[in-house]
């Protein structure tokens, strides 16, 4: 069982509010990721980080921002939430592969965000 946590699990919020989705892992993984997933749909990578002070945009354009000040923590922030941001947000982490190991990602339980 992977040790990666997301809070809150569910969030219902009004338009225009600033929100931060929390993600923490206790495995010492270098890499962390944020995915967006609508019900019954694909996973879309929106942000990733290869280590402290490293953040990159993913394949799907997102109005959210991320930060990586500590290895174990990778919060995602929406400055002004809109109904189009309603979705499930999944956080994942992986260990930088060395010889003989793979880059398998471990996922948190997700945060289901609803913006009214």
């Amino acid at each position: 069982e992977a040790d990666i946590y997301q809070t809150p699990r569910y969030l219902v919020i009004g338009t225009g509010k600033k929100i931060t989705l929390e993600c923490s892992q206790t495995m010492g993984h270098d890499k962390m990721y944020w995915y967006q997933q609508d019900p019954g749909m694909e996973l879309h990578l929106i942000h990733y980080s290869y280590g402290v002070n490293s953040t990159e945009k993913g394949d799907l354009s997102s109005e959210s921002t991320v930060s990586r000040i500590r290895t174990e923590h990778f919060p995602l922030t929406l400055e002004s939430a809109r109904p189009s941001h309603t979705s499930q947000y999944l956080c994942a982490s992986s260990k930088h592969p060395t010889s003989g190991t793979t880059d398998t990602q471990y996922f948190g339980p997700g945060t289901r965000l609803t913006v009214l």
Partner: protein, 113 residues
Amino acid sequence: GESVGLHLPTLSVQEGDNSIINCAYSNSASDYFIWYKQESGKGPQFIIDIRSNMDKRQGQRVTVLLNKTVKHLSLQIAATQPGDSAVYFCAENIRGGYQKVTFGTGTKLQVIP
């Protein structure tokens, strides 16, 4: 929110039968592949992986087959159970520069009791 991308294909299987879930990949530089299972309301969970220098790998009730010639990956689940009902994603790890894992579209498996 507005949905982007594709709706997932669905595979319906009778309980006790074997399931085969297929995945096509496009990048020859992929050096290993991973299958994930995602149950409703949860994050994806690792099932099994396979390196590109292998053709087959077996786990508990699951077998992954890799055909590099046609860039095809399959997940076989033996004696499918109701608890196997979930969405299954394949992912490929692309070698070179910063390694990147790319997820496939996903297949929804429905087990009929």
